[in-house]
């Protein structure tokens, strides 16, 4: 793997880790206002 390849893999990894962290944060902070986690929530009906 050349330097560019390593750089791309690092960037993809950072993006994935950032997404996973934000997913976990969102789950704990907004579990009741996210259609993804709970289609029965207040915000979900508002959004729809």
């Amino acid at each position: 793997m050349n330097l560019l390849g390593i750089l791309i893999v690092i960037l993809i990894t950072i993006a994935c880790l950032a997404y996973i962290v934000s997913y976990i944060k969102k789950t704990f902070n907004k579990v009741n206002s996210s259609c993804e986690e709970c289609p029965y929530s207040d915000a979900c009906s508002k959004k729809q």
Binding site: M1, C16, L17, I20, Y23, V31, N32, E36, E37, S45
Partner: protein, 685 residues
């Protein structure tokens, strides 16, 4: 008179009368509706425009009365008292008019600007009731309109009644309910006292406060306790209660309830015309005798569940095969395309092993998720699932659990998050906590792909039976754990509960399809987001450090897996791949399948016997007994992050989610151990 440009409408009513359906019809929202009580556990807001007026609709939780016994009743009463909506629409199930009128009486007592929407009038024709709508409206002094909550058929007359109520004089004719001379006298004394002592309160508020104080409603007492004259008022109420008790020799709630039911009985006699019971009703009654029978009910449910799983597999198998072929085709072509372009090997590996292996491995299960949810939604909407709750209610009472707890458990089959939220319908904090703690044992949709993958690889001739046994085991473990918690952790639980049996009806196809699509879309979205992210991370862990063979035990993933795997050795699955899958599956259960897909790859073509390389890889690493123990572990071990988050929120503490992780994982380990070691002893290995 002031003409407002915006209106607020509250939708109130008994559970399962069509509030959420009407809410969806009015606002175009897609709130989940079901043919059983207790779906809506908190207020939902929506908006729509009608004749240039912006109308805010609030869907209130179903409640039978406005006394502060349960959270639903408190939410409804607080909304009417504090937010003062322009109109409160009570949706009444025309088939059960008498029962619904108990709430009507209380809404009238509360002085709510009431409009009654009579729903399911067409179904009432199948019963022995024909309602005289005009007489009902005149006797209650409340507008009553016929409404079909599922369609916009009577929307014009409904909205006309709503507008007339919203812009009418609020002091127009109102019915005066009488409770008998003795109660009226005592109520009169309290009302008089409140009139003298309190300013800026309406006559309805005075009336409501007087009744609620006599009933011993804690919310009314709490409100009164902030006032300067509280001790005087308290003494007055205490004397009134004592006097009534002396005269009637009954407790005050019984006396008031009798007075209200007396009014309802008289009213019903005047407005309900009886005719002969229809063939539909007779048939429904006969069917109910079987499905709610104390001996036949549970076996019947078991047969229905078995048929449900068998049908799901039979219907989804060809569809799954096509999607599998599509991803195999994609994988093979991408590999050759990359080779043509002279792309580095790692790019090809990332796309084929990581992305297609992980995400594709999960998307294969879309048809089975869709079909299972479709069949479950049909059963739910038809009214059968409420019968299951009824049968289980009796059973759960017998072992000392709260019967109402079974409804949140059934909801847990879809997803444990709404299941846990539905525990709000339970009356006490201990009941709720207990039901929350056992809910994750109900096998949610996210665990299904794991079962299908393993059952397909190891028990292809008995797939339906194997998965049926896992769902059933989940129910049994939930009930056993509930019983143990009740015995050792939450002693002295309440409480009597009567579950109603909604009438059978044809499922609302549009609503069912919307619900199924929502579940499938959540699944697809997860595959494209969190599962994709995890697949790439797992690919990286399986590729690093440089120079190791992809997915070998020398890789980082291999090292992590080998560190954990001794824990699972007594359970029969100590291969490092399953340890990594279980570890990441803690975030979302679907990740277990995508991890196997990434680590083993699905890019190879099918073998001669129709199995895929993933199935073959699993067969190389598990014995059938170990595979079954693995499925049991997945069924019972720590719930996903979303469930823990909702438990944290509902219990307002970290203690219970952490306890849940610990005890469910321990239970999972013990059960998997018993099955694997027991199976080995019996030579099933």
């Amino acid at each position: 008179m002031e003409i407002k440009s915006n209106l607020i409408i509250g939708l109130a009513g008994n559970p399962n009368v069509g509030k959420s359906t009407l809410f969806n019809t009015l606002t175009g929202a897609h709130q989940h509706v079901g043919n059983w009580p207790g779906k809506t556990v908190e207020k939902k807001h929506g908006e729509f425009t009608y004749l240039d007026k912006k109308i805010k609709v609030v869907d209130l939780p179903g409640s039978y009365s406005l006394t502060a016994y349960t959270e639903e009743e408190t939410i409804t009463a607080d909304f009417i008292l504090e937010e003062k909506p322009d109109v409160v629409v009570q949706i009444i199930d025309a088939q059960n008019l008498e029962r619904n009128l108990f709430l009507t009486i209380q809404l009238i007592e509360l002085g709510a600007p009431l409009v009654i929407a009579l729903n399911m009038v067409d179904l009432a024709i199948n019963t022995d009731q024909k309602i005289n709508i005009k007489a009902l409206s005149e006797l209650l002094c409340v507008p009553v309109v016929e409404m079909d909550a599922r369609s916009k058929k009577h929307l014009g007359s409904f909205m006309k009644a709503v507008f007339e109520k919203a812009f009418s004089d609020k002091k127009a004719d109102k019915i005066k309910l009488t409770y008998g001379t003795d109660i009226n006298d005592e109520l009169g004394k309290i009302r008089q006292f409140l009139r003298e002592k309190e300013n800026n309160v309406t006559e309805e508020e005075i009336n409501w406060t007087a009744i609620k104080l006599l009933e011993g409603d804690y919310r009314a007492e709490q409100k009164a306790s902030n006032k300067a004259h509280y001790s005087e008022l308290k003494l007055l109420v205490k004397r009134s209660i004592a006097r009534l008790h002396k005269i009637c020799n009954k407790d005050i709630n019984t006396i008031l309830a009798r007075a209200r039911y007396g009014f309802i009985k008289g009213l019903s006699e005047d407005v309900i015309g009886r005719h002969t019971i229809s063939g539909h009703k007779k048939l429904a009654d006969k069917f109910d005798h079987i499905v709610t029978n104390k001996y036949l009910g549970i076996p019947f449910f078991a047969i229905v569940a078995w048929v449900l799983f068998q049908t799901t597999f039979k219907l989804s198998k060809p569809l799954m095969g096509w999607i599998e072929l599509l991803f195999e085709f994609l994988g093979a072509n991408l590999t050759s395309l990359m080779a043509t372009w002279n792309a580095p090997t790692w790019v090809s590996s990332l796309l084929v092993d990581g992305v297609i292996g992980g995400v594709g491995g999960v998307l294969v299960f879309v048809p089975i998720i869709g079909i299972l949810f479709l069949l479950m939604a049909l059963l739910e909407d038809s009214g059968y699932m409420a019968r299951v709750a009824y049968v289980m209610d009796k059973f759960m009472h017998r072992i000392g659990l709260h019967g109402k707890a079974f409804i949140p458990l059934i909801l847990g089959f879809g997803c444990n998050v709404p299941g846990i939220m539905a525990t709000r319908t339970l009356p006490t904090k201990k009941d709720r906590l207990l039901t929350i703690l056992i809910n994750p044992f109900m096998s949610c949709g996210a665990r299904l792909p794991v079962y299908i993958l393993f059952a397909g690889a190891f028990f292809s001739a008995y797939q339906g039976w194997v998965i049926f046994s896992l769902y059933f085991l989940g129910i049994i473990v939930a009930i056993v754990m509930g019983f143990l918690f009740k015995k050792f952790l939450f002693k002295k639980l309440s409480s009597p509960f009567v579950i109603e049996l909604p009438p059978y009806r044809w499922p609302a196809i549009k609503g069912v399809l919307i619900h199924v699509w929502e579940r499938v879309w959540i699944f697809i979205k997860k595959a494209g987001t969190i599962i994709l992210a995890f697949s790439i991370i797992i690919w990286l862990l399986a590729s690093a450090p440089f120079g190791v063979d992809y997915g070998s035990q020398d890789s980082l993933a291999g090292s992590i897996g080998q560190t954990i795997s001794p824990v699972f050795r007594p359970l029969g699955f100590d291969n490092w791949q399953s340890s990594v899958a279980l570890m990441f599956g803690f975030v979302a259960k679907e990740v277990i399948v995508s991890t196997f897909g990434t680590l083993y790859g699905i890019d190879d073509v099918e073998d001669g016997e129709g199995g895929t390389s993933l199935s073959n890889a699993l067969q190389d690493n598990f014995t059938p007994l170990a595979a079954y123990a693995f499925m049991i572990f997945v069924l019972l071990y720590a719930p996903c992050l979303a469930v823990l988050a909702v438990v944290k929120r509902e219990t307002n503490s970290w203690k219970w989610p952490l306890f849940m992780v610990g005890y469910t994982t321990a239970v999972a380990w013990i059960f998997a151990f018993i099955v694997y070691q027991g199976g080995n002893l019996l030579n099933f290995g």
